[in-house]
Symmetry: C2
Subunit: 112 residues, 2 copies
DNA sequence: TCTTATACATTTGTTTCTTATGTATTGGAC
DNA sequence: GTCCAATACATAAGAAACAAATGTATAAGA
């Protein structure tokens, strides 16, 4: 787990990128995928995720689709056209930011 | 300029790293150096910087030293032994975080 | 039957920053 | 010699983004 300050400001970018890669996902699924992909280093809390998803939906960035698994509701989110655009922008902004920080902090990286 | 969320949580790390590289610096100098090194992409505001410096001083991370340039006060900050340790920790935590995010966002980087 | 996992959601509080404001000195342009 | 920009400190009020806690309900497995 990273000190909580670090993760701040990255949630939106993470969500948008995951949705760009997986077409449609539901909230709980997003938290589990991030947890798994990062080896528990990043854990998205529900108190942060759901308000963010609702806000992005209200802005027209995300589209929802309800599905029932038995009696249990599942709310799928996917990217609108604006969302696809924003996803790319956010990811490339973050990539740029990382390069800037790498230079500022004089960090050497390995080739991806 | 990056969207303001991104920079959140990195201020402490930036300050500690700059002080590790430059022995002693004063507040205004830090804002100018970050501005210059990042080509105006990151601008540290005084409202964020000074409280952070004061807090780090109160924690024993930073040591201060007053100097007078004519009649004008200049307050130099430098790392205490604890500060040197913390600086390394924060930078390597951030490097680790960048690798995690790079993987999560599927970002390719160039060799440093 | 009881606990854990799944799945949604909101509320309250904290941290961290932004914006605005304030004081004072110094240097350069005009 | 006056005015503006830069230098240099600082604080206060508010916003943003998140963490922690709490709540509801279904489903699966021991």
């Amino acid at each position: 787990m990273y000190s909580s300050e670090l993760i701040k400001g990255t949630l939106k970018t993470i969500v948008l990128k995951l949705l760009a890669e997986h077409k449609k996902m539901y909230g709980y699924e997003i938290t589990q995928m991030v947890k798994e992909m990062t080896g528990d280093k990043i854990q998205i809390t529900e108190g942060a995720l759901y308000p963010t998803l609702h806000a992005l939906e209200a802005e027209g960035i995300l589209i929802t689709e309800i599905e029932y698994i038995g009696k249990r509701v599942r709310k799928y989110y996917s990217l609108s056209p604006d969302g696809k655009k924003l996803s790319k922008e956010k990811v490339s902004e973050f990539a740029d930011f990382m390069n800037t920080m790498k230079f500022l902090l004089d960090i050497k990286t390995k080739q991806a």
